[in-house]
Amino acid sequence: MNYIELASQFAPELILTIGALAIMMIGLFLATSQKKVLGYLATIFLAVASLVIVSRGIYDLQMDGILADSLTIDPMSQFFKLTFLLVSLIVVIASIREYDGHSNQDEYYTLILLGTIGMMVVASAIDIVTMFIGFELASLSTYALAGFNKKDPNSMEAAVKYFIIGALSSTLLLFGLSYIYGMSGGLTNISELAVFFNANPAVLQSPMGIVALMLIVAGFGFKMALVPFHMWAPDTYQGAPTVISALLAAGSKKMAFVAAFRILLIAMIAIKIDIAMVFMILAIITMTLGNVVALSQRSLKRMLAYSSVAQAGYISMVFVVMSPEALTGGILYVMSHAFMKTGAFIAVAALGYMLLKENSNAKDVDHLDNFAGLGKRSPFLAFSIMIFLFALAGIPPTAGFVSKFILFYSVLKGGFLLLVIFAILNSALSLYYYARVVKYMYVLPPSSDEKLKVPGAYALAILLAIIGVLAIGIVPEPFVNWAASAANVLGL
């Protein structure tokens, strides 16, 4: 394979790499007041990369391993890459206003693009070393981004906690992967690993294999925010800049899912019973704890963080059922959740921005009380928050309903009645805290009658997310088909 061909296969990643470097360079020559331009540049690079993915489609893909069998371009990788790109795109658009006039915008946009590249590498990786490198690239970028508001102690705290637990988890993951490497006699390619372990299942079923599995699950569980590896998430999502919380919840969290799909469901399928059992426990405690604790949250960001924990619990049911339908549901859920969670965080960010503009000393701008009467103060924002929350709760005609329906139905079809009952009860429970926000926005009186004007950049970002949520909800067919062909890749 020559370089031209290689470049065309990885055009989206290359575009982002060029973009990241260009933004860093150009930023050096720009005065702070002009750096807004970098946001537009980042937007363009992300948009172009997304278009490249969309235009290539999912058929006629070169699915063989590329670059010494370390990467692949298959429907699964493309699906996740598009999800990451769109999340980053929405986040960047919202950031243009959020960080307008900030002196470090060049680093900011560079980091977002680099983080996105890391996620995309993970989506394509079929080699455990490559995957780990992508993982780290995304992690390191997001550690820095979480602490981007460096004068805000909360942001710093968020970044440090994220970093410490992240470092620990990376260690666990790497440790687990090294066991795999050792046990297999030096294999790193996922399909080769699968062949080896299927031939020698006893290796994985040994205590060492179990420990390796646990370490890998912990490493992924950290990013996915599964209980009990989730504890960093509420603190970080709350303390980090809100737009970055969106990136974490919708982007980097999903990266762990695609990696886990490949490693657990292909390489380690020989111990599927153990995997199913572990995730049965994790899924149930994750969704229950996430939803129950979310009930008592008064900070919207923290509430969304716990809701995000709960949603990870739903998606991880895929590892229990392991059927093509469940995987389809899970993959679709990833994209749906990306849109609705990004949208919700960005909408909260927009409100915070407007409240801070009104009164620069305002504290806890994401507190529930600030949402009282929002329906009167900013009908657009209130309505879009309502759509996102209803989508998260799984109410038609939103993406949340479609993906939840497919996923839950597949769990039921897989014969896990108890699990699906848990999931449905949890969904019902979650409606309480989502609907409470809607009640605040539409029923309670506003604290001030002044209208709030949503800045254009935020409005555009929110609108994109709404389009995503409603498109999947109203015309699910093409998305489901794509998710199904992505699921086929794993050959379950």
Binding site: I210, P228, D274
Partner: protein, 680 residues
């Protein structure tokens, strides 16, 4: 053929008129009332074209398109639908024209005309549907519009209450109807679908599919389905015991009453039974005097006949001019149901009789209502006791109403037939057919004289209350100082047209009408279907034989005798006043008390069933269990979880060392669980 391509406009134009009137009515003269008039006029013209085509070619117009899965949307205009179409569009058109004058002073005209346009469209939808589901959807829309229109003056508490009552009462029927459709559908899926072979598309709820496959449906199911359908018809057509909404429906504008009582809504129930007649005739039979007749049709006959008599007794004592007419509507609808029920013996000919009476009734009842409207418009009162001597002031109204009253009372000349057509008012022609060729033949075949008795007694009472009304309003001396005046030309013009129809329509169309509508269903097909339920129906020749050879002249005379007798009685009491009304009609006479109190229906239906039982027992018990038990559980659950949330929140210490510990512990615990999986 051109007409096939434009028949969809028949319901579409009134819908369009609804939208336009609602949107722009405020800016147009007469509240935009000319838009629905134009739309319905065009619908009427298309209906006429469709009728002419069917009349000439003898083949029904069928247009159908798939909806989804095994369901379709479509239009079926067979003779049955065709005559209904003509009647609905024509009467509705006249009522709309009349309303321009009648509603002239009402500020909410755009809403009025928009709603009546939608009402008409919905009724046309019922008539045109080629499948039972589409019919049901239109049927529900009719119910909604009736609610809106009866409660048109919604600021008036009685009007709002009447709208609600109409909606809720007909809802009872609607639920039965829907249940019937659901059972029918499941039967079609279970028993009919397996028999359909090949690639042809079949729409399960289309009438033609249903009728062709009746023999696959178990007969017990057929009884249930038809009874449930009839339940729906009982609600919409105001049959006992769901008739209670109809008298209250007078609270709307009089034009609405005319629309509901003559052209739309109440006839929907009769139409439904006529439309699904093949299913009724195929339902399993009961044995009566040696012959087996379809059970559900017998139920239809008894309910209809009883309603005809029951409602007419109450019509005797009402003092509100519109209420008298309301009870008369219920009673006449009873006749139509009675006629359909006679199909158990005379087969598809019964559909012709019922529809003929339906059409004639539409004309004379619309005329009566609009005359009443004219009277109310000029005197400002509904109370007959406050009227009197109006003839001198309102000649056109008085004469047109007299004609319509003669039709309602069924006055005509017995025995005299010219070219097979009896001579008399349209009410005479159609009612006579029901009583003689329907109930009498039924009695002759089965020895069951009860339907015949219902018919004759109701006819007597009808004549009495009709002329009581007319004599009280138009003759004698004015009982109150008022200044009545004749109504404007838009109103009297319509009255004259309708009165003319009330007089001669029956005579002019008797033979061709029955022949035309009688061909809706093939006689052999009906005979075959009746055979499925073990029923025997007589054919045309037998019917003719019975009528000409085995019927004593007194039977032919009886309807006219009671009609004229009733007229004379009313004349004696209310015009000549030879008998003092007060001596009979006072509260000492228990019979009068029962009638005046309307058989204590209010006490039974509203106070006992609705308030005491449904509200007092069911609703309050449910409320108690909902508040205390269900809410208690819910509150318990929610406080459990919210309390749990407060506890679990504490796990989140905010200390990052604890988080790391949790991570490592998690790995350890899971590894332990997995390791001891075999042991556990």
């Amino acid at each position: 053929m051109a007409v096939d391509n434009i028949v969809y406009l028949i319901p579409a134009l009134p819908v369009l008129a609804f939208v336009l009137t609602l949107a722009f009515g405020k800016k147009l003269p007469s509240g935009g009332g000319y838009i629905p008039i134009l739309a319905i006029a065009i619908s009427c013209i298309i209906s006429i074209l469709a009728f002419l085509q069917i009349y000439k070619t003898g083949t029904p117009i069928e247009v159908s398109a798939p909806w989804f899965s095994v369901l379709n949307v479509g239009i079926l205009i067979d003779p049955l639908a065709s005559v209904m179409l003509l009647m609905v569009t024509f009467v509705s058109l006249l009522i709309h024209i009349y309303a321009i004058g009648y509603m002239a002073h009402d500020p909410a005209k755009p809403r009025y005309f928009a709603e009546t346009a939608l009402f008409t469209a919905a009724m046309l939808g019922v008539v045109l549907s080629d499948n039972i589901l589409q019919l049901f959807i239109s049927w529900e829309l009719v119910g909604l519009c009736s609610y809106l229109l009866i409660g048109f003056w919604f600021r008036k508490p009685t009007a709002a209450a009447a709208g609600k009552k109409a909606f809720l009462t007909t809802r009872v029927g609607d639920v039965l109807f829907l249940a019937g459709i659901v059972i029918l559908y499941s039967n079609m899926v279970e028993h009919v679908l397996p028999h359909i072979t090949g690639n042809e598309t079949v729409y399960l709820l289309q009438f033609s599919t249903i009728f062709e496959n009746i023999h696959h449906i178990p007969s017990g199911q057929l009884t249930i389905i038809t009874l449930l359908f009839f339940g729906g018809a009982v609600g919409k057509s105001g049959q006992f015991p769901l008739h209670v909404w109809l008298p209250d429906a007078m609270e709307g504008p009089t034009t609405v009453s005319a629309l509901i009582h003559a052209a739309t809504m109440v006839t929907a129930g009769v139409y439904l039974v006529a439309r699904t007649f093949p299913m009724f005739i195929a339902s399993p039979g009961v044995e009566l005097a040696g012959i087996t007749i379809p059970a559900t049709l017998t139920v239809v006959a008894y309910i209809g006949g009883f309603t005809a008599l029951f409602a007419s007794t109450m019509g005797l004592v009402m003092n509100d001019i519109k209420r008298v007419l309301a009870f008369s509507t219920i009673s006449q609808l009873g006749y139509m149901m009675l006629a359909l029920g006679m199909g158990s013996v005379i087969g598809a000919a019964a559909v012709g009789f019922a529809m003929f009476h339906l059409i004639n009734h539409a004309f004379f009842k619309a005329c009566l209502f609009l005359c009443a409207g004219s009277v109310i418009h000029s005197t400002g009162t509904n109370d007959l006791r406050e009227m009197g001597g109006l003839m001198s002031k309102m000649k056109i109204t008085g004469i047109t109403m007299l004609f319509a009253s003669l039709a309602l009372a069924g006055i005509g000349i017995p025995f005299l037939k010219i070219a097979g057509t009896p001579i008399g008012t349209s009410g005479f022609v159609s009612k006579d057919a029901i009583i003689v060729e329907g109930t009498y033949v039924f009695a002759h075949m089965t020895n069951d004289w009860i339907p015949f008795a219902f018919g004759i007694l109701a006819a007597l009472l009808t004549a009495i209350y009709t002329f009581r009304l007319w004599f009280m309003a138009f003759t004698g001396k004015p009982r109150q100082e008022r200044h009545p005046h004749e109504s404007p030309a838009t109103m009297t013009g319509v009255l004259s047209v309708l009165a003319a129809f009330a007089l001669v329509f029956g005579m002019l169309t008797f033979v061709p009408f029955l022949d035309f509508v009688g061909h809706t269903y093939d006689h052999h097909e009906i005979e075959h279907l009746a055979g499925l339920g073990g029923n025997h129906i007589i054919d045309h020749h037998e019917l003719h034989h019975i009528i000409t050879e085995e019927t004593s002249p007194i039977i032919f005379l009886l309807p006219v005798i009671v009609g004229v007798g009733g007229l004379l009685l009313a004349w004696v009491i209310y015009n000549r006043r030879w008998i003092n009304v007060a001596s009979i009609g006072n509260m000492k006479n228990p019979l009068f008390v029962i009638l005046a109190k309307r058989y204590y229906q209010h006490e039974i239906f509203i106070e006992l069933i609705s308030l005491k039982f449904t509200y007092g027992v069911l609703a309050l018990t449910s409320e108690f269990s909902d508040r205390k038990i269900v809410d208690g559980i819910i509150n318990g659950i929610s406080s459990f979880f919210i309390g749990g949330a407060e506890v679990l929140k504490k796990i989140q210490t905010g200390v990052v060392q604890n988080y790391a510990t949790a991570t490592v512990l998690g790995v350890g615990l899971l590894a332990l669980i997995l390791s001891f999986r075999g042991v556990i």
